[in-house]
Symmetry: C3
Subunit: 476 residues, 3 copies
């Protein structure tokens, strides 16, 4: 019955913290199911298996690349740009063969990996329905090896943006805006789906095949997001310098939990409000994506803002969704199929830039507005430019090589058939069943195609709905 030494408690702290990190890592991993369902629901039935395959391969290929290369690149870039000491060889060997006794090295790696793979998977929603599988996987390899790790190196990895004071708690910019900007860039370079835009600049809406899967995906994502945000409070306990056990990052976990909750709720309300103002109806998909945009909005600042700020950012992130989506669609004429830019890109940037206005440090007088604003603006500009440039380079090269998108015939046939040789719903009619073409306030393309004996549509028909300013149909 001896007494306990302070040193004895370090195992408690280490074990408890690892438990928490593992638990939230699993939740964040589960977001892949959310993305898979959200994106599958938003594409045509002829492209569902393609979307699902991209999600499976994003994780499978990406996580191995991130283990072999990406994580080390983060360390190196962080050290090189932040002025810290680092070893190029050590960045790899520390991960490949951690010292005996460092139980948490691979746990911490996995915690980083699930964030990296979230950024990667966002892109697939933007380029749905026409990107070549090998082009997408090729880009994912580069994203996991270099493009995302460089962003992490600049910031969480201790690089120059971190030194400058740029703040991103859980990845509203580093993960989500990065993914959203990459998606928009890729969608711009590979061009829209066939028949998405007309020669006169008018827009055809191509509704997704299942709202149910889309909303299921939304709710899985929101569930996982509690891991993403609250989990970033990764050290429930800590050993103080005095040797005492104290709460670690859990000091602020209540704020994180509240802000995450209010942000997502306000996002749904903001999007519902604007959509209803514009059309008189409460578009389900805008409500769902608005909830996600609200989450993205608060992700970068979850632990450092006052709670009315969470409501404000959420409302704005939701409200901008229909507006930015239409801007991308009608003005930029970019076919961002799953609205990844308004949901992850602009909402993420908005949250990071709104930070100074609602920061606890600002309201308590502990920091000046400008001291908070300048690093945020710098970080947003640097990360956006890097992501845009790297993505444009990769997809530009793929396009130049004729490898970026499938042939027109394959696109019309559907990628499930041409890329995967499968039929997602063999009992529920072939892809693009002509029987469900519907028109609301616009014209239906008359080249309806013929139904082959095997149930597929053989000609270049596509189920479209023409959009107009007064149209109340779903936009995303």
């Amino acid at each position: 019955m001896s007494t306990v030494l302070q040193s004895d408690l370090s195992a408690v702290v280490e074990g408890v913290n690892m438990m928490w990190v593992l638990t939230v890592t699993f939740l964040i991993f589960f977001m892949h199911a959310g993305f898979a369902m959200l994106e599958a629901g938003q594409v045509r039935s002829k492209n569902v298996a393609n979307q699902l395959t991209k999600n499976l391969l994003t994780w499978s290929v990406g996580v191995i690349v991130y283990f072999l290369v990406g994580a080390a690149i983060s360390t190196i870039v962080g050290g090189a740009t932040g002025g810290g000491s680092y070893s190029v060889v050590g960045a790899f060997t520390d991960l490949y063969a951690p010292e005996a006794g460092s139980a948490g090295v691979w746990v911490d790696w996995l915690f980083g990996a699930v964030f990296a793979m979230t950024a990667a998977t966002i892109v697939s929603g933007a380029v749905a329905g026409r990107a070549k599988l090998r082009a997408y996987v090729g880009y994912t390899i580069l994203l996991a090896a270099v493009i995302y790790p460089v962003v992490v190196g600049f910031t969480w990895g201790g690089g120059f943006l971190d030194a400058l004071g740029f703040y991103d708690f859980a990845g509203g910019v580093i993960v989500h805006a990065m993914g959203g900007i990459a998606g928009l860039t890729a969608a711009w370079i590979i061009g829209p789906r066939v028949n998405r835009f007309n020669d006169d600049g008018s827009v055809n809406v191509i509704p997704g095949h299942s709202m149910t899967f889309a909303v299921l995906g939304t709710l899985i994502l929101a569930f996982g997001w509690y891991g993403f945000n609250v989990g970033t409070s990764a050290s429930p306990l800590a050993l103080a310098e005095s040797g005492e056990v104290v709460l670690g990052s859990f000091e602020t976990v209540g704020r994180v939990a509240l802000v995450t909750t209010l942000g997502m709720a306000a996002g749904a309300i903001g999007a519902a409000g604007v959509a209803t103002y514009k059309t008189g109806k409460v578009d389900t998909l805008y409500v769902a994506n608005g909830l996600l945009a609200g989450l993205v909005g608060v992700t970068s600042v979850t632990d450092v803002i006052v709670w009315p700020g969470a409501i404000a950012i959420g409302l704005l992130a939701g409200a901008q969704l229909p507006i930015v989506f239409e801007f991308v669609e009608k003005r930029l004429q970019i076919d961002d199929v799953c609205a990844v830019f308004p949901v992850h890109g602009s909402a993420g940037l908005l949250g990071a830039l709104a930070y100074p206005f609602v920061a606890t440090a600002f309201w308590s007088g502990n920091a000046s507005f400008l001291s908070l604003a300048i690093p945020q603006i710098t970080g947003v500009v640097v990360i956006s430019l890097w992501t845009f440039a790297a993505t444009a380079l990769v997809f530009g090269a793929l396009r130049a090589a004729g490898q970026a998108r499938v042939s027109r015939d394959h696109e019309l046939e559907g990628l499930d058939s041409s890329e995967h040789g499968v039929d997602t719903y063999p009992e529920f009619g072939g892809p693009d069943d002509a029987g469900v073409v519907r028109s609301d306030g616009g014209t239906v393309r008359p080249d309806g195609g013929t139904i082959c004996p095997d149930g597929d549509v053989a000609t270049d028909s596509i189920a479209v709905e023409t959009d107009s300013e007064t149209d109340t149909e779903i936009k995303i």
Copy 2:
């Protein structure tokens, strides 16, 4: 290497307990995905997006209202009716601006909020297919602000039912029966769906559009329920008055885990047995809803009953499901679309009232039957009456104002179109595709309607199946 002081361990206890509360809170939040899928699967395809939107808005609107108003109302009602000291202003300010250092206030609030939102979302399944979205959201606001908080104030909040000895461990009555009774009341007041009942009192079955989504929802709910029940053991560790660390509510967590498991299993078996006895076939939806009814049945008493009691309550809760469902449908002629009363209402009441028979305290001789029974009966009566009265008042007022339900045309067209302007499955035929009308032992309505160019059914047809005593079709 100094020695550890007892006070040093308080951070361990606080951190570990917060970890647990957060983990189970996330699980309970995920039940919204379960409710969304369970309910979406049980409605017609023309009303799926409406059901999904109601689920999204229940959480989004409800949780903000519960933060701004509801939680404080609980505190005030608890104090006012329980004789404790309380401050009206403090009830709000403690939540809006907790003292520095109280890391767990907002964590505890969120833990309460996910229970509140579970009660709220149950109602949407009862009024599916005809309630106006704004009526439903209006009711949800009042439920989150007042109706549910009053129930909590009476009980967990330290009010008069708590003082009387009413026991509800995890919300079998407070959350589930409350939601089930509210749903039944609302469904009664707004009336059944068009064509649900015939003039001669016979019943038409309107089967849900996807059993797969319904069962998926069931299993997500069961997963989340482990958080709901086991999570109510919210203090894994505690500091004893002696200063020692001891197990807190985890002293009984093994019983909670076992009772929850046996209760749900027995619920599925009980419902399967009765359904098979009545029709010779094992109705899938009864098995699924029976599993949930078993869970509801043990929720109020999970930590205080002997395990054979869990099997008994589960079997009864499952067995009453087909019987109560038919009673509500055929005798009361109330259109409780997703069977929320038999699943959440009567099963919850049953569990609370069965408690004295299977209480560990009774079997060990530590409590008399009556001392356990009287508070339970009182609690059940008070909560049922309050819920019924408040819900009847709100929906009665909405009905009187002509705001409770959509027009007949909108109902027949489907709420997805009329309320949301979306088509959940644009590639899989329009809502109420006349091709799937089927008859089993009854008559099919001949006014099959015409298919509009946009694939929707234009006349007032509805896919119905006539029910009869010998009918083996699904009932819920």
Copy 3:
């Protein structure tokens, strides 16, 4: 402010470890939703409700049987064959009425139960579409009461295989290969679905009704698998003999997390590679099932192999999937509907047998190859033979009694109708809608059947696709 005694920390260790075990137990329970979706997606729409019901009843019936009988049998078999002391009566009474103060007994039981029910539910995927519900449930009762508990008794329960040195960390053989072999045996004995194989030995592909549900199930399973594998590190903390708190099984949890992740990723890549090599296309279902096969492959050895070994086992487990699936289908002519043998059976055996090649103990020179290999081979042989014999006996007896499978008419009508009296998708066409029959390189059966007024197919038609060596259609 007294000092802390070592004994004081035992509550911390107990509480924290129970928290972890409960958390991962919930995740493993959630795998039932994964299996339900994975299997439902891989069957025809006329058999979906049957598959869902089997999943619900596997858990509900199985877990009660495992509580009343199965867990005790494990203890008895472990004691009897391993030479340990045990009490037949005590095996039951310890579980039915644990000593006061043993908070964790029922938590530990539930942790064991979720593994047992995983083994049980695997079987249902192999016998889909023709097994009688009562035959399946009968087998499940015996599996939960005896067949699986004997395997656990031999191994984790301290029996003779454990004494011999057989190693299975998280159930790659004990749970998964056991389930896969049982499924293959059962599928062999009850025979293939009608029209699955032609008289000339050629094969008809009967594609599942929804790839989306199948992939959703895959991702839910992968999520739950983190509980399954990482959760088997069931003691984050431990009290050392010195009295100090130390990391318990969390000493190796980093390796477990990494190996699980790399194994699943490599599994998807291995299957994708072989499928693409054979057909030129990336079959989505092979990618999904390959991911699962990779998980199965590393499950038995997660904490004791070098990480390149995880990639190697994963690649092999994925790569063998299309090959073994075709061998079972074309050479053995066994109709393993959901590919449970290649995914759970052969992948599980492969991982256990590959262990010596990639063991950390081997590469560090701490163990000879043969000392690792012989126990693994012995264990694999014993468990395979026992599972095969017990399953063959049960299904053989059922078949002899004419109770193993439904009538031909019921099979063609679909089990949803004949066994459950429900229609899973009443709005999306009847089962086996003749309109979706498709042919790829083979012949379509001309007896297409007639469409009844109620939308069902009345004659013995079935939607089939003829397979050939060059066929690129989905195989599983």
